[in-house]
Symmetry: C2
Subunit: 334 residues, 2 copies
């Protein structure tokens, strides 16, 4: 049993922050004192942890020297402002915001060895939901495929954008079902019963920030710096659960049976046979694994593997991976 640690959760009132606190408790993470932090607007409320109410305080006035480990789940701007201060105070940081480009991305199932070379205190990144899903599903396949190129269509749940986006999908849906005029608020247009082919801002070449992030994170996680990868992100009218249609080009012919065996041997993968298929609602949501289904060769390409992945974007796609990463980190601290 590891020694209990004083830790902080920044962004404790957001949906990922809430899931973090819940998973720390579920996994009996060795917490001595838990400090919950948020921006000024959200500070003052309380969150339950291990049967006690913990008050949420302002991150601005927190002294990070009080803790050995902090999770940052309050967005890129907050991470950029406070993560380096935390580290200077001797606190290791696990960032969930994607805002710290210099922080190494780690998924325990894919590149746990990346921690070995780092000196405490560290600043590491728990990557985007898509990169986690790809890493969990594809890392076990590195032994049976010679991966050259990956093509991903990411179908993102509205909860990836936080609680306001969840409320907006519910509100828009209710307005439409009641035949009332729709006035979009959180999204700039109708998201209910619709698909939005762009998530966040795009650059001059037309690629989204999240799309580029998924590319660079996947290369690191899979240890394939030369990997060619293309991503299109689409916002779908789903509350929880991200899904990914994935095609992998291999340099050698794909042995589907070997792929299935490798997936079956992976602890964080639940493979669904082709007489069925996994869905976000009903399978992935609330679960701690990446569901993999529709495992097949390309229709006319024996060097291609097609897959469908779905995962809980708040748990395995965010909070759970961060806590699993923290579990690796505390071994290093011991």
């Amino acid at each position: 049993m590891s020694q209990a640690l004083d830790i902080a959760v920044v962004g404790a009132t957001g949906s990922v922050g809430e899931a973090l606190v819940q998973i720390l408790e579920e996994l009996q993470f060795p917490v001595a004192t838990l400090h919950l932090l948020a921006s000024m607007e959200s500070a003052g409320s309380s969150v339950m942890f291990a049967g006690k109410k913990v008050r949420v305080r302002e991150v601005d006035s927190f002294d990070f020297a009080q803790v050995k480990l902090a999770f940052f789940a309050a967005g890129a701007a907050v991470s950029r402002t406070f993560a380096s201060k935390a580290r200077e105070a001797g606190c290791s940081v696990i960032d969930l915001s994607g805002g710290l480009e210099e922080a190494l991305s780690i998924v325990p199932e894919a590149n746990p060895e990346a921690l070995d070379g780092l000196k405490l205190p560290v600043v590491v990144s728990s990557p985007s939901s898509g990169a986690i899903a790809l890493a969990v599903a594809l890392a076990p396949l590195r032994g049976v495929l010679d991966i050259e190129r990956i093509q991903v269509m990411a179908c993102l749940a509205v909860s990836s954008q936080g609680r306001e986006a969840v409320n907006e999908l519910a509100r828009q849906t209710a307005e439409l079902l009641n035949a009332r005029p729709l006035e979009p608020r959180f999204f700039d247009r109708q998201v209910a019963f619709n698909l939005l082919a762009q998530v966040g801002a795009t650059d001059e070449q037309g690629h989204g920030t999240l799309e580029r992030r998924l590319v660079s994170e996947s290369r690191v996680l899979l240890g394939l710096p030369e990997l060619k990868i293309s991503v299109s992100c689409v916002q779908v009218p789903v509350f929880f659960g991200d899904s990914f249609s994935v095609s992998v080009q291999s340099r050698t012919p794909v042995d589907v049976q070997a792929v299935k065996l490798a997936l079956d041997g992976a602890a964080s993968v639940e493979r669904v046979e082709n007489d069925d298929y996994p869905t976000p609602v009903g399978d992935a949501v609330g679960q701690d694994v990446v569901y993999v289904g529709r495992v097949r060769q390309g229709i006319d390409a024996d060097h291609q593997l097609d897959l469908w992945l779905t995962t809980d974007n708040v748990r395995k796609g965010a909070a759970l991976n961060a806590v699993q990463l923290a579990q690796l980190l505390i071994k290093k601290m011991a």
Copy 2:
């Protein structure tokens, strides 16, 4: 002005059949007498055409020698039973069911010349919504790309499966919003706020019938019999409007500016610049064009073009294409 023809619409009471009748009227198709036909259960009702009520009669007892042209929009089984009888009676057939494998697929914007070699009466196929969207968007690019491979994720609206599927999405959504228990009827599971990664039956290799159809139709329409193409179909909780995330691998580097110009010159394409993007609801639905957006090179592949297409699956994706095909056909009859 062409001579007016006696024509038949089989499956007149379905959503595509209804759209066919409406579009025949909108485009002032030269109809002398319109015969509306359906299965026994749907016969007896009436449909408005050109200001008059037209009674729907049973297809079983219809003599196809009365008409020169028949649209078949009543499913694969009906086409297989009656299309060859119609042709033997001297009636040309435009099949919308996908059930006649020997029938040549035609999209007027892509392969109108395919009609030249055929002798009247003909049996031709108006292909699936995905193949139509791909053909309309990619045919104009054959001059600026050397297309080697296409990767498609097709996000299909529930209306692709008819009126019952539309009602089921509405019903499931209402049940969920009212926190009532969900009992799936038309679909085998929850489709509201969910994604179903399989549409229809799959074969032993794991590919769906519709996925294989889209592949073979696209090769014919684009005149590229050797084209490598992979398709994944997903049922999305959208009522109307099919969308497609498409990656095209070219044998030569992609000139994005030339691609945009070629798309802008195509009559049935509406291109949306990258500061915006097209959506099924709000753009495509009710329109007669294929919307193309997010035109960009692959993130790290200058031989790749990424696109997002969206189109009205009932109009351009089905009924409108069939009527445009009929317009070509009557020139041949004149």
